[in-house]
Every structure is written in C-alpha cells, then in structure tokens.
C-alpha cells in the first residue's frame, strides 16, 4: 500500500493530524489497533476541560464520534481499525497486520501517534486476577459495558485515578478508596472534590504493599510511606475489595521511533524516553513526526493541537497549497503555549525546555 501520509494511531493526535492534512489535499491513511478509531477518547465519558473554542464541556466519546465522522466524510482519508503496525524496515516501509493479513505500507510522511503504555507498581501478589490497569478498567466498563468489579480500590490520585474512580461509581461499583503515594492529589482539585463529597476516602502518603487473596483479589494491605516512599512499619492497614485498579502513570509508546532511528532523550517530566523534535513535531528523521502522548504525557487537548500542527506541516512540506500557513501555525503554537501556561503544567514547560537544550535539537 502506498500513501502520502501514514498516521499510526487514530487517537486525538492522529485523527486531528489526518483531518488537517487531508483538508489541503494530502492522501492520508490512518491505522489503529483498536476495534474503533478514537484512541482513549472513546472511553472518556467525562466532559473535557480546555477552551470552548476547541472541545471544552464536550465528552471525549462525543469528540471521537465527531472526528471519526469527519474522517469518513473526507475522500482523502482512509481509516483502518484493528490494524497494528508491527515494524519499520530500513527500506522505508512499515509492516502492518490486520486479522490474518499483513500489509507493506510506504509513505512519504509518517506520524507516530501511538499514545502511551501504563506503568505498574511492584507489590506482593500484583499478578492476582482482579488487579487491573486503569485503561483496562475503562475499556471493560465504557467500551464493552462490563463492570470489572464491585468493590474497587484505586491506586493513584492523578487525573486518571480520580476520573476512573468517578466513572466506576457511575457504573455502579463501590469505591473502597483512593491511595496516593505522594502527599497530595496530583489530579485537578475539582476531580478530587467530586469523589470526596460522595464520601470516598483519599489516603495520601499511602501505598499498596500486598494484594490479598488466593485465586483472586479479596483485599489489599496498604501502608503509609515516608519521604522516600518506603512503607513505614506498623502503619499497615487492610481493606476488603475485589478489584485493585492501578493508575500510576504512563510512558510514551515510542518503539517505532526507536526502530526508525530517531534520536531520543530521557526526560522524566515528559514521561520518560521521548523523541527529539522541532516546533512542528518533526523528529530528527526527516518526514517522521510525533504527536500526543507518544511525544509527552499530557492530555487530549494538547494532543489534538499537536496533531493539527503536524497536519499543517505535512501538507505544506508536500507542496500542497496552505493559504494561511504561517498564521495557522502561529495560532496553534500560541494555543499550546497558553494551555501549558499554568502552574499545574510546570513539568511540561520544564521538560520542553530540557528538550530544547538537548544536543542535536533540531
């Protein structure tokens, strides 16, 4: 298969990039390994923050529907779900598999918008059935309509832990509590406040040390931690639960970029190993772009803006006429800057600053 612009990952970043490039005439192929395009958006039943000029106050699932519908309406876009890009070859081709077929894809421009993988925490018995990642819980609950458990313990009070806890309550589970190893909730205060007023405990300075149960989770042993996150002896307490949900952070999913020889840097503020890239999100390998969580662990609004930026750059670099290119580009860059302007986004700004100081920054 040949295309001008291959987008790997049809989440908020990939869809936005594909739509933007296709608008100016670029032939786009978007591939995604999920049963539907939309990435994490299709599991997000909560309303988005951000600007009313973008998607604020609209639920993630509705944003996905809108973007996918626009993609279907656009003749320049081909979308393939259930399709996994498994490798990149030196001759410039990608191999993708779908069902029992495999495809060789050649493209002039590529966007890796593969998102992120969930982190885990080590604790005794963490392989017991009933221990889930928050992504799996959301998939079961919001995509397949299956309640993962009746009494759930959440580990991690970042936005994902807080939001998924609330969604579990909406789906009919009981929340036993939320344990957070640091001294405060990392997520938005309003998300924590929503749980607290329902009466859900949030235990700060607390970690899980053991999942209890023989063949499945029947409870958990938690402990207070010291400044170095070591459990304090004598502080242990037990809770009864049938499900332990881990929401302890994400790592950018960048395997294809490693394989393609893009230069990487380890920047913890952005989630770990990430590719070097310029302001248009082009990596050190010409024609290879990155956007969304694969570029830095952030959120969907910035992913969509980064995607649009890539779509513009791709259309422009392929010679398609983008009448107000500089103006549009400038506007998106300033929107990203504004979005990252608050104290809560300090780590992102610091990470981007580090990235710019890296040798070989394009």
């Amino acid at each position: 298969m040949n295309t001008e612009f291959l987008v790997i990952g049809g989440g908020p970043a990939g869809l936005s990039a594909g739509l933007k490039a296709a608008k100016y005439g670029v032939k786009v192929l978007i591939v995604d390994d999920g049963i539907s395009l939309g990435g994490q958006l299709i599991k997000q039943t909560h309303k988005f923050f951000g600007s009313i000029n973008q998607f604020a106050s609209i639920r993630g699932i509705e944003i996905a529907d809108k973007l996918i519908e626009q993609g279907k309406q656009n003749q320049n876009i081909r979308m393939m779900e259930r399709t996994t890009v498994v490798g990149y070859y030196d001759d410039g081709s990608f191999i993708a598999t779908r069902d029992d077929k495999s495809y060789v894809i050649n493209a002039q421009r590529v966007l890796v918008a593969t998102g992120a993988a969930e982190r885990v925490v080590p604790f005794r018995n963490n392989d017991l059935p009933g221990v889930y990642g928050a992504g799996a819980v959301q998939t079961l609950m919001n995509l397949y309509g299956v309640l993962p458990g009746e009494n759930v313990l959440m580990i991690g009070a970042g936005n994902i832990g807080l939001i998924v806890s609330y969604q579990l309550l909406q789906a009919g589970s009981k929340m036993v509590g939320v344990a957070e190893a640091t001294s405060r909730c990392g997520g938005y205060w309003v998300h924590a406040a929503k749980l607290k007023r329902i009466g859900i405990p949030i235990w700060t300075n607390t970690t899980i040390v053991e999942a209890l149960g023989d063949n499945k989770v029947r409870g958990a042993r938690l402990a207070k931690v010291d400044k170095n996150f070591s459990p304090i002896s004598g502080s242990e307490f037990e809770v009864a639960c049938d499900t332990i949900c881990l929401a302890v952070g994400l790592n950018p999913l960048v395997d294809l970029l490693w394989q393609a020889g893009c230069e990487m840097a380890y920047i913890p503020e952005l989630g770990g190993d990430i590719p070097l890239r310029n302001e248009d999100m082009e990596t050190t390998r010409r024609g290879f772009y990155v956007a969304g969580d694969a570029a830095a662990i952030e959120e969907a609004t910035s992913a969509m803006l980064e995607g649009e930026l890539v779509g513009l750059a791709v259309a422009n670099s392929l010679g398609y006429k983008v009448p107000d290119y500089n103006k549009q580009r400038g506007r998106i860059i300033s929107q990203l800057k504004e979005l990252r302007g608050a104290e809560i986004s300090q780590h992102i700004r610091k990470g981007i600053e580090k990235l710019k100081q890296t040798k070989n920054y394009a």
Binding site: H46, K47, F48, F49, G50, S51, I52, A56, S57, I58, R59, L169, Q170, S183, R184, C185, Y188, W189, V190, H191, A192, A193, K194, K196, R197, I198, G199, I200, I202, T204, T301, E338, L339, G341, A342, E343, I344, S345
Partner: protein, 159 residues
Amino acid sequence: MLKIDGVPQLKDIEKILPPEEIRESKPYVVIECFQKIPCDPCHSACPTGAILPFENINDIPKVDYHKCTGCGICISMCPGLAIFVVDETRDGYDLISLPYEFLPLPEKDEKVKGLNRSGEPICNATVERVLKGKRKTRVITLKVPKGYAHKVRFFKRIE
C-alpha cells in the same frame, strides 16, 4: 484541604461569596474552582455576562454578582462539576442546586440525606427539582435547613 484532596474549607468559600445584600436578595452562583487549570466554558455558558471573560484560559473564574440571576445554566456546563447555585432568600429553608451525573435519578419530593464536601451526612434534605440540564449533566435542587446552603454539596438517597 484544597491542596491535598481538593476539598475547599470555609475560609476558601468565604473569599468567593457575594456581599450580604446580594445574598439576601436573590439566588446566586458559587463557583468552587480554586485551581488555575486551562478551562473556560463557564464564561460563555452564562447568558447574563455575570461570569467575566477570561484574559488567560488558566484564570480562575470571576463573577459579577450584580449580573448573576442564579439561572444555573453554568452548573451543567462546568466540566469540573464545581458550580453550584445557592438561594438563601427563602423563609425557613435554603435551596442548593448541584450537578448530578448518576442514575437512577431521584424524584421530586424525595427525602434524602444532605452530604457536606467531605461526604459526611449533615442534615435531612428534600429534592425540590430535577432539571435535565445541558450536556447530559442533570441539575438537582435540594431544600435544606436554613444555614446549610453553603454546607451541603451532595446527597445520599435513603434506601
């Protein structure tokens, strides 16, 4: 505490309350949004211009209480479910309107327990109104004892 578990304390709430003459004369909005986050839909949701324009998307919302009619449209537009409308003008009781995203919905005149910001039951309450709201967030108005409008922020159904 706000910085630890997102729960505003009395001193945080007192800072955002309107002057006495407003509180005594009409229902008004209480926006419990104390953290600078990139979010602005409350401003454009407001039909009377009471929620002032944002200079920066990370600003904390500011209210011109003279313009606020307590209509409650902003309640269901707020992604953080952080907006409430309080009515302290009634004789013998207060009204508190809050966002609600659970099923099944309570019914009008249903007796419930009023919960405070930490989820503790603090009073008996009655469901006064169930509004459809916008964007699939319902708005529930509770009748609570006089003086509880700034204490009750959720409710528990009695089984």
